[in-house]
């Protein structure tokens, strides 16, 4: 019985390591594109790539390697409620590009995308906080991280923004 419990515990630890990568693991991950999803009440991301031809817009495949992507949102990109899909390009162990898209948005890249599956919302926010508050990360990437949090419309994300913006605000004002 004791052995069975130990085996079950070990399996849980292995399972957690696979399904819930820490931000450190993501940041130290191999170079290339990484992706993960969050499933959080309040989040509603329908962002997708978008092309305009003759004044009319239509959904397009997101080529993640392109530096100038045109994002939009619309019913045809609607994701499952609560789902947000994040894409992060890691170079030399540091995030270089961050995107948040609808899980329904088709993406392509010249390389592989390492899929980390579903990451708990708190873990996801911790990863973003680490990027936003890390002065060794480029300002552009830190700003992309802030935009990604806003676009996710996650309650946790807005709570975090609220804390940033409320810092040093005297009580009662």
């Amino acid at each position: 019985m004791r052995a069975a419990r130990a085996a079950a515990l070990a399996a849980c630890v292995v399972f957690a390591a696979i399904c819930s990568p820490t931000h450190a693991e993501l940041l130290a991950g191999s170079d290339g594109w990484h992706s993960w999803q969050t499933d959080e009440a309040g989040a509603i991301t329908d962002m997708c790539c978008f092309t305009r031809q003759r004044g009319a817009g239509s959904r397009a495949v997101c080529y993640l390697d392109e530096t100038r992507l045109v994002f939009s949102s619309g019913d045809d990109c609607a994701a499952s409620p609560g789902r947000a899909q994040y894409y992060v390009l890691v170079e030399d162990g540091k995030p270089r590009e961050i995107r948040v898209l609808s899980e329904a948005c088709p993406v392509e890249t010249g390389g592989q995308i390492t899929d980390h599956g579903i990451v708990p919302a708190a873990e996801n926010l911790a990863w973003f906080r680490r990027v936003i508050e890390d002065r060794t990360v480029s300002n552009d990437v830190r700003e992309e991280a802030l935009f990604a949090l806003v676009l996710s419309e996650s309650n946790l994300a807005f709570d975090y923004l609220d804390r940033i913006l409320s810092a040093n605000v005297p009580a009662g004002r």
Partner: protein
């Protein structure tokens, strides 16, 4: 919010993001983070961005941070956001008040824009400039025209006329001439707005030689073949040295060295040739070398 609006907002946000961290050398780390967070809010739904922006404005934050919150409000099309902008435009002081006024211009809200006339009337020169900028941003020509018509001092009139020129408000500027007469600022505004017809009208009117000369010179700002031909014609028909000089100044501004060379070749007196040659030198024209070469050949 429709799709196009979101695209524009997100594009603007990404453009803005270039200024968030990068250009804030003199700002504290905490304020840098706040500014970047506020800029990210441009892509947030209004109902989530508004309370955060309001909280920043109510808090003990620096003007730089609050100014960015005012910008976010300008992008939220709700009565609440406009009410806050108007309150700051009326009650805040210094740069924060001026920024709130400009943000009303960016928002383009008609009711808030209409309220700026009262703020203009009671404001100092910085506030008045900010109101003009707001109208310029919003493209509200009529409001600026009203300021010009009702100006009780030269500075305010000239600022308003200059703004109308930048707005390309030709109809309003023509109307102003009928009401206030020709002035130097009006001539400059005709030139800046590209109103050749009005400028030519003043340039051909010799009832006020000083204004006539100003208009002739200002023709050079518009430039182009028609203007160049007019300037040569004006020079040739000039009844005074002032008008001739104004025509030359116009050609100098428009860079019409071919016209000055043409006048040089047809000039009769050495004094006139000398003056025209001086203009060609000032224009850094290669035509000077044509004249030098011709003179050397003539000497041989």
């Amino acid at each position: 919010m429709n799709t196009l609006t979101k695209i524009l907002i997100i594009s603007a946000g990404l453009l803005l993001s270039g200024t968030g961290y990068a250009q804030q050398a003199a700002i504290s780390d905490a304020d840098e983070l706040k500014i970047a967070a506020l800029e990210a809010l441009i892509s947030a739904p209004p109902e989530r961005a508004l309370p955060l922006a309001n909280k920043v404005l109510a808090g003990d934050n620096s003007d730089e941070v609050k100014e960015r919150a005012l910008f976010i409000l300008s992008q939220i099309d709700t009565p609440e956001s406009q009410a806050t902008l108007v309150r700051f435009a009326r009650e805040a002081n210094g740069s924060l008040q001026e920024e709130a006024i400009r943000m009303i211009g960016i928002s383009g809200d008609q009711a808030s824009l209409a309220g700026l006339s009262e703020i203009y009337a009671s404001g100092n020169s910085n506030v008045r400039d900010a109101v003009l900028e707001a109208y310029l941003i919003a493209g509200d020509k009529q409001a600026v025209f009203e300021i010009a018509v009702n100006a009780d001092n030269t500075d305010d009139f000239e600022e308003a006329v200059e703004t109308l020129g930048a707005m390309g408000a030709s109809d309003e500027l023509r109307e102003l001439r009928g009401r206030t007469g020709v002035s130097e600022s009006l001539i400059d505004a005709y030139a800046i707005s590209g109103d050749l017809a009005s400028l030519l009208d003043v340039a051909r009117d010799n009832s006020d030689v000083e204004m006539q000369a100003e208009a002739i010179e200002a023709l050079g700002i518009i430039g182009g073949d028609q203007v160049n031909a007019e300037l040569v014609e004006i020079y040739r028909a000039a009844a005074s040295e002032d008008i001739r000089e104004a025509a030359l100044d116009g050609m100098l501004i428009s860079g019409y060295d071919a016209g000055v060379l043409e006048l040089y070749r047809s000039a009769q007196s050495p004094a006139e040739k000398k003056e025209l040659l001086e203009y060609l030198v000032m224009m850094d024209s290669d035509a000077v070398w044509e004249i030098v070469d011709a003179a050397l050949e003539g000497g041989q």
